[in-house]
Symmetry: C2
Subunit: 221 residues, 2 copies
């Protein structure tokens, strides 16, 4: 289940005996800030994380949402390129970079595994760029909801799916505004394609029509 079950010694500075299955963090906990020395990889065990890039003029982009099984920390040089914090209470497996290099020398097959994981990250970034190139807001939002359903393993009708991110996060992820996101979600609800039973959730009602709106294969990973 874990990427490096033995790679990180208990004596590591960021560990303590209590968090055996990984480090436990609360919602809003910051894993790292842009510019921090990029010295670790994080494997999400439970919960959802958010990676955000803030521009000088105050605009924001949510580069990615990380779900259990995702690795956070690829694609940075010496310093992290964006901020990362937890949207929900969560658990992460932290592995120092040095430990990874060492482990790879001892277990060469680990390199291939890591490369596969990095390839998965590249694939999901491809998916995001495909989403962002869609011209209409409805296509992007439909595609986004489908990717959430897929990643949570609930790609079926009448499943309650968690929506841990706020409208602003969705908007900044898709290059839209809060209002446009809200309007289109309402439209989907009025058409009977989804339900919005309360904050933080939605329910798929007509998967087929949602896929038709997204109008492409909704393959994530």
């Amino acid at each position: 289940m874990y990427l490096f079950p033995h790679a990180a010694p208990e004596s590591h500075a960021e560990r303590n005996a209590a968090d055996a299955p990984g480090r436990v963090v609360g919602a809003t906990t910051v894993l790292f800030h842009e510019g921090d020395h990029a010295d670790a990889l994080y494997e999400v065990v439970t919960g959802v994380f958010r990676a955000t890039k803030v521009f000088q003029d105050g605009r924001r982009q949510v580069v990615a949402f990380a779900y259990p099984g995702d690795i956070i920390g690829f694609g940075h040089g010496d310093a992290y390129r964006f901020d990362c914090d937890a949207l929900t209470p969560a658990r992460v497996q932290v592995t120092a970079r040095g430990d990874i290099s060492q482990a790879m020398r001892q277990r060469p097959e680990l390199g291939e595994k890591l490369l596969t994981l990095a390839a998965g990250e590249i694939a999901s970034m491809h998916e995001l760029s495909l989403l962002l190139c869609r011209k209409s807001a409805m296509e992007r939002i439909a595609g986004f909801l489908l990717s959430l359903a897929t990643r949570t393993g609930k790609l079926a009708n009448d499943q309650r799916i968690s929506l841990p991110m706020c409208r602003a996060d969705i908007a900044d992820h898709l290059g839209l505004t809060i209002e446009t996101v809200s309007r289109n979600l309402t439209k989907l609800k009025l058409r009977g394609i989804i339900d919005l039973p309360g904050r933080g959730n939605f329910i798929l009602r007509d998967l087929g029509r949602l896929q038709a709106l997204a109008e492409c294969e909704a393959v994530v990973h």
Copy 2:
């Protein structure tokens, strides 16, 4: 200079004795199609390649342009996820996946190098998603021109920079239309920020103002 100088035996099916520094291909040569069995990595030595994803409804996205030093073929599973062809005459170093696995077992440090390259690919996909999230067409186009200047090592005024892709490629890369790309390039020319001396080239005239346009919105009609 090359990633795997010894990894691929001369007897490999896709090799012949004539292409010592890599395989030579002409413009419009197709490296692979979407759906092909993904059995190789390609390192661009010279020339420019284009990775395109075509949707059922005929719309197209140019996922990436690959310049010398870039690796093509990360981020696919068993089958390639998009098409890839050459925009110019080019040379590529082809390495079979099997050779890579084998080489990694023999030289563990190669795994780290590959991982670094994959990280670079992830970083450039992040850049693309940042571009695509910009709301205005001018910001995206300015950012795209700057990335071209950077990648060709000509990030300075009065340098002639090759623009091997057509307007449609740029448009499909940035989620815009041909007309919008054309109009904004013309606007940049009228403002004296770039020159368009002929097809397939542009010249940076005012790097500072182009960077200002890419970073934030300063629209003067």
